[in-house]
């Protein structure tokens, strides 16, 4: 097996992890920020919501996130790029995915796609509501905050795993 060919279906998690960690260099040197993902949901969500409720931009938090600054829209471009990169990688390796991962039928106890879509919507809602309360997600707190030795990030990541593990055992079935 070629370890890191662009056409391989899987790389060692250590090689991929090093690539991800190295992305901190351009983030800090070029954009003057750390890797993160969850703020972009406020930038995009706030911009869309403002079409229906222009008053939302009077909330300082929203105004700060939708402002046309390099940092705000860099992160939006970053997550768009994530979709493109994953698509290209998948096409190169041919690791096509089914519409829904086969694990969900077992984890949720039903193969009904509508149940999965509903759970996915709720999961996305919880994920971003929680990430905004904590002021960061697996990237901003996990990758960046822990590497910077921040107390807030270490605490948030510990409780993120606690919440994730509790949910996996109490709500989902064993996959």
């Amino acid at each position: 097996m070629q370890a890191c060919s662009l056409r391989a279906k899987a790389w060692s998690p250590y090689v991929a992890g090093i690539v991800i960690g190295l992305l901190q260099v351009p983030a800090f040197l070029l954009i003057n920020t750390a890797l993160g993902a969850s703020s972009s949901y406020v930038t995009v969500g706030g911009t869309i919501a403002a079409l229906f409720d222009p008053a939302i931009t009077q909330i300082d938090y929203v105004a700060k996130h939708v402002a046309p600054t390099g940092k705000n829209w860099w992160q939006v471009a970053l997550v768009v790029g994530v979709a493109l990169g994953a698509f290209v990688s998948m096409r190169l390796s041919g690791a096509r995915r089914k519409a829904i991962s086969p694990i969900w039928g077992r984890a949720l106890g039903t193969a009904n796609p509508l149940v999965r879509y509903g759970v996915a919507f709720g999961a996305g809602f919880l994920m971003l509501f929680g990430a905004r309360i904590a002021d960061g997600c697996t990237s901003g707190h996990g990758l960046s905050g822990m590497a910077q030795m921040a107390v807030s990030s270490t605490l948030a990541v510990a409780f993120m795993f606690a919440g994730g593990i509790a949910t996996a055992f109490l709500v989902l079935r064993r996959i």
């Binding site: 969850s38 909330i59 990169g85 107390v151 807030s152």
Partner: protein, 208 residues
């Protein structure tokens, strides 16, 4: 930096980020749920390797005086409650806020609903933020770091963290080789045949 070049840099970095997510298989729901149920360790390996790498490169950049650190402020209740809710969402989504986009790129249709839910959650939080601020985002010890708590300099602590993580990862890999967690369709799925039409699921033979 002005918006246009920042967007180009973001796209380029995102493509690398998404490529690495897809090759690592860490965007797979089977890897995330498997990690949270303690029988798949791909997520932890990618995550801790990226933290260790980030700590080393930031220690070097900081040591040369090229960057300023930007730790987030500590609000105990917000970090704990937010972390718990975020974690519950990650398990039910089988993704993180960043890897939702990798799922969409790789072709998972349910991830579109996760994305819409995520945007709705961010907007709901935005409306609630003024009311939550006095409850969750006031007071606290500020932007404290382990340098403040220990008095040790950042490069020393960061390199120490990286060293500890490397030892932990070597032991983890020795206990559980990464290929054992891939599954026949590289999605962390080791389920019974009824869930996978391709029934030849063997634990130690990833398709390559």
């Amino acid at each position: 930096m002005s918006v246009f070049p920042a967007i180009l840099i973001g796209l380029a970095m995102g493509i690398v980020f998404g490529f690495a997510f897809e090759k690592a298989r860490v965007f797979e729901p089977g890897m995330i749920v498997g990690q949270m149920q303690f029988h798949n360790f791909t997520m932890l390996k990618v995550f801790l390797t990226a933290v260790a790498t980030g700590a080393v490169v930031l220690a070097v950049l900081h040591g040369f005086g090229l960057i300023k650190l930007a730790p987030k402020p500590t609000f105990y209740a917000a970090d704990i409650i937010g972390g718990l809710v975020l974690g519950a969402g990650i398990t039910l989504a089988g993704a993180c806020p960043g890897t939702i986009l990798a799922q969409i790129g790789a072709g998972y249709r349910d991830a579109i609903f996760t994305l819409i839910g995520g945007l709705a959650g961010a907007v709901a939080f935005s409306y609630a933020e003024p009311a939550l601020t006095p409850l969750l985002f006031t007071g606290g010890p500020g932007k404290i770091t382990f340098m403040d708590l220990t008095g040790v300099s950042y490069p020393v602590l960061a390199l120490g963290l990286a060293a500890v993580l490397v030892v932990a990862l070597v032991l983890l890999e020795r206990w559980r080789p990464w290929r054992a967690d891939l599954g026949a369709d590289v999605d962390g799925d080791f389920g019974p045949a009824e869930a996978t039409p391709s029934a030849n699921v063997t634990r130690l033979k990833p398709a390559e």
